[in-house]
Symmetry: D2
Subunit: 347 residues, 4 copies
């Protein structure tokens, strides 16, 4: 079978190099073009020497004809780029997976409010599919445009989904206390991302509003067919990779620890990339480093009426590039775990 | 004025070396004895070479006569030691500050349940004072025995205190999502504390029960004059020092962000070691590294009915040795910040 | 083709879990047994949850019959175990790869001196092959017993090899200033390996004698057909993985930077796992994290008479488990990079 | 006694905030002005909240009159600023301590070559004193202009000094393999200083030329009264603070390990900030974190002809701000350790 021809727009950031890592050994896909205006001409393996020996490719100026010859184009760009190029690509029969936020929020007023720009292709939103396979696998198969979920949203939505679909918790007081490694802040040169500013520290940030809040709420709303209230507090962990989300909900029914365990296991037993760990396990971001797995556990501490879920992912894999490849695999009818069978790097 | 003569029992762990660091430059106190059965004869500056040039002292076998000649004895020992030696010391007129948990829980049934041993001196519990100056400063002045608070309990109680004393939150559904650096696990040789097991990782632990839970609940109960329900989830941060607690409460009255800010500022405006930061600040553990400060901020995200408090301390200073020295200063009528005026090490 | 049947003795340490990671996706090998006296009965995926979904295997008591039914047995044990079990296995036709030091030093007096025990099977030393493919690939093909090189020795020998074989440096004054991540100290519970003892620190150690010194010297001697003098100073880096070696030699001939570059490139141009980077590159341990590559660069600073080589590996991969798998691939006539095509995890 | 009135030019970088930390508790000095064009008006405690409670001061526009009213002005600025302002200040009777490199190199041709600009006040170089107290204490007392040494140069010069002054090593083949924490790269927003680019990595850099090379060579030349050849290879450690230098020299005389130990101890026995550790010690950067100490040890491995010295400092203290304060103390006839008696933060 011919390999899926992949184009990548952008690719000088961490999601870009992670896409290149994952696709380097993908059995059914090959990267045929990667674009960057600022780095055109630079071999990818010179910018990212971990790729030496895997790629001869160089960054190139974005060329519509080259991209239109691809089967799928990933956007690993700042917000605003994908929406300007997607309509032409879709018309040319290319499928699009956007790793930025351009297509994540259906309500464009909300989107414009949080992202501070007007949306470039409102009409395409009707056919956009939110690329969380554990919610929308069937739609993803046929989708032409995928909004690849954000990193926090992936960890939080997967953790809440069993509880919300089963109607077990008070949807007016959901709490997500989430933590992310520093690679989530990207490869941009910012003082607050310096090693000397982040190592040996830990803080909450964005308490009064983080762009992932409306994305998460949209997903949770879909699970309950209504409107949830969520308090979302992100924190910065002094690690490179990893997201941990500790989720709190007030139980509205009396379910035992064992019933909760069974609910979670039943929800995800067919999922290749969600691992419900045994009762009393401690999901740790180091258990998913470099892999596409989401691992989680559910607790009812002291038998009280608060249910706790902890959920971990690698923000660059299941939280970005890995999930994008998983979506590609589903769209092109490949094995869902093709190119994604990495064992997490431990220690 | 004669210096306060200090004895330290134990002292080969992290709270011990931190006591030595803080007391090395204390203007009104001097360490006259430090005991360790296992390290008797070893100079403290050989075991902890950061102390070279500051101490000629060596660890010695515990000698009751030497300790009874002190003005104050700090216990930096495993649980169970202080309770066996304290009655004799108190009788000899020595004041005792226990940095372990022997005297922290008033209800000894609860204590024995969580610590798995029977208590060695129940009768002394009547006069024990819980050494959180921001709650019990007046009692500390006269106390003969101080239970120095745990690290998580310090950060959590200080953060909740203004809300609970003002009666603003639902006390049946308090949530404390807390995070600690690895030094909180002590200097014992344990696989789970190895650098290769903890760096580049992040996880929750002790969700089904942590020894600091009953200690915190006891303190919160005292604030409300009733019984609270608290969900307490500790996490491990890959840093050496630092505790951050993100606290969630459901507001029972409609108070504005500004009113919350004023409440917190008024509560702590006289406190030398609690810093209420301005609205929208981000308390970070790096802002208190090596210092006795607790810094905090209060938020009402999106104007909803959940109030969020973030509170940071250095677990070895305000969460252990620094608070112990603060208690000593209060007990001996010294300047409360004597020996404790360190600027946090940043970066 | 039938898969190579692999047994692993030991396997509760970091080289053990790394072997399991690499072999989980090996196309031509499968782990059929893994032994541990202390953990017999424990599923490997329970001890190392990163393996959940990859292995159903549990640790078992060492059983000679099971091991003798393997094609190859890896020893990931403390020093002294492999030499007691290898003769029987070899007699049974099983090939042995020892990741410990039992077979690394040909001169058994030297070995016994450094390792403090008497050697258990001197007679087998005649046929042992030192498993550094870049020196001994042909012998490895036929070997029945492989001494898998130490981590420091791999980085240092590969870096010095081109210079020594070309006779370009003063062999009486070689210097290797080497640095290793903390996983090199193993998974044993030791105070000096705690996160709170190693993060935010950096030190030299073992200056007066490290067990890898005689191993390295033996290899360098072989390159020159004589006797070298080497000053070897190891240091501890506060990372989990990675070895960097900065090597210094005094040039005995006037060779230009460009000639040095060509010498290195020519030496290793056929090697799948040695990457000579372009002049002025900066080999970084993060460029090999999780991969079997050794990357290096050569410099002649200021045009003086000192040549500098920097060489980086992942100590658990090319410095241990990865090199062991590479040796297995060579021994069983598989593709040399089978199961070893990982792109280094960056960032 | 009136306090020394201190002005700081620059101060938004790491040496600036470190000066503020050290001077906050200095018994004989007070900061009366701190300037920053870009941050004028910003309270220092708002930019660096670890200073909350210690300073009411705000950054101000540089004002010559204010600075001329100071007793001493520290320059914590990029290279090039101090040389433009120093002549006026000196003429006004203000003493100047430059923490940048403007005055470090006596040979201005060399300086201009390495720093890429022409020098602004050549005439003042005649009276500049290089502020390494262990070499030039007497001159520092009377100096009007101090060139505060670089961080690497401090660690390397202090380590080599005893050997060079005693004429024990081959001065044509000195090697300094040095390592620095990331704060040495400053607080500028640069991709290569991001946490995601540096943590879990280790690399050499600047092998073909680092600006500290000519500064070190100048100092070593002064020690021998001749010309040395030095190979200097800096490396980046994934810590915030700390420099470790491992120094190698070829012995030209047969001196025993014990004689070397005595030489080092005798050289520095009167120095308040150099600690020669006992034989076989392991100087670790964590033993000097936050303190002005330089700790070192000397070895003669295997009794060979190579002598090894390891030397550690905190790059922001003894390698920058602490040494600057030490110089101020000497210049103003204060206790040399005034404000500098910090115990290193361990763990």
């Amino acid at each position: 079978m011919a390999k899926v021809k992949v184009g990548i727009v952008g690719g000088t950031g961490y999601t870009g190099v992670e896409l290149l890592r994952l696709l380097a050994n993908h059995p059914n896909a090959e990267v045929v073009a990667i674009t960057s205006r600022s780095e055109a001409g630079m071999p990818v393996a010179e910018m990212f020497p971990n790729l030496r020996g895997f790629y001869d490719l160089a960054f190139s100026e974005p060329n519509p004809d080259v991209l239109k010859a691809c089967d799928v184009v990933f956007f690993a760009t700042p917000h605003g780029v994908a929406m300007s190029m997607t309509p032409d690509l879709v018309e040319a029969g290319v499928r699009v997976i956007d790793l930025a936020a351009d297509f994540r929020i259906n309500d464009l007023e909300v989107w414009e409010d949080w992202y501070g720009m007007s949306h470039g292709c409102p009409s395409i939103m009707d056919e956009v599919v939110y690329g969380l396979p554990e919610m929308f696998r069937e739609k993803i198969k046929e989708a032409r445009v995928i909004a690849n979920p954000g990193c926090y949203p992936t960890a939080v939505q997967l953790g809440f989904q069993p509880l919300l679909k089963a109607g077990l918790v008070d949807i007016d007081h959901l709490i997500a206390d989430a933590k992310s490694g520093i690679s989530g802040a990207g490869r941009g040169a910012k003082v607050e991302s310096l090693a000397a500013e982040t190592s040996e520290g830990f803080k909450a940030y964005g308490i009064n509003g983080h762009r992932h809040l409306p994305e998460i709420v949209q997903g949770l709303n879909a699970m309950v067919g209504g409107k949830v209230n969520l308090t979302f507090v992100p924190h910065l962990i002094p690690t490179i990779r990893g997201i941990e989300a500790t989720l709190y909900g007030k139980l509205t029914k009396n379910v035992s620890q064992q019933e909760l365990q069974e609910l979670f296991e039943n929800t995800y037993c067919e999922e290749p990339f969600v691992d419900v760990m045994p009762a009393n396990s401690q999901p740790d971001t180091r258990l998913v480093k470099g892999s596409n797995m989401c691992r989680m556990a559910v607790y009812r501490p002291s038998g009280g009426d608060i249910v706790v879920v902890t959920s971990v992912i690698d923000n660059l894999v299941k939280g970005a590039a890995g999930q994008a490849v998983q979506n590609m695999n589903i769209m092109f009818d490949l094995e869902e775990n093709a190119g994604l069978n990495h064992v997490a790097l431990l220690p």
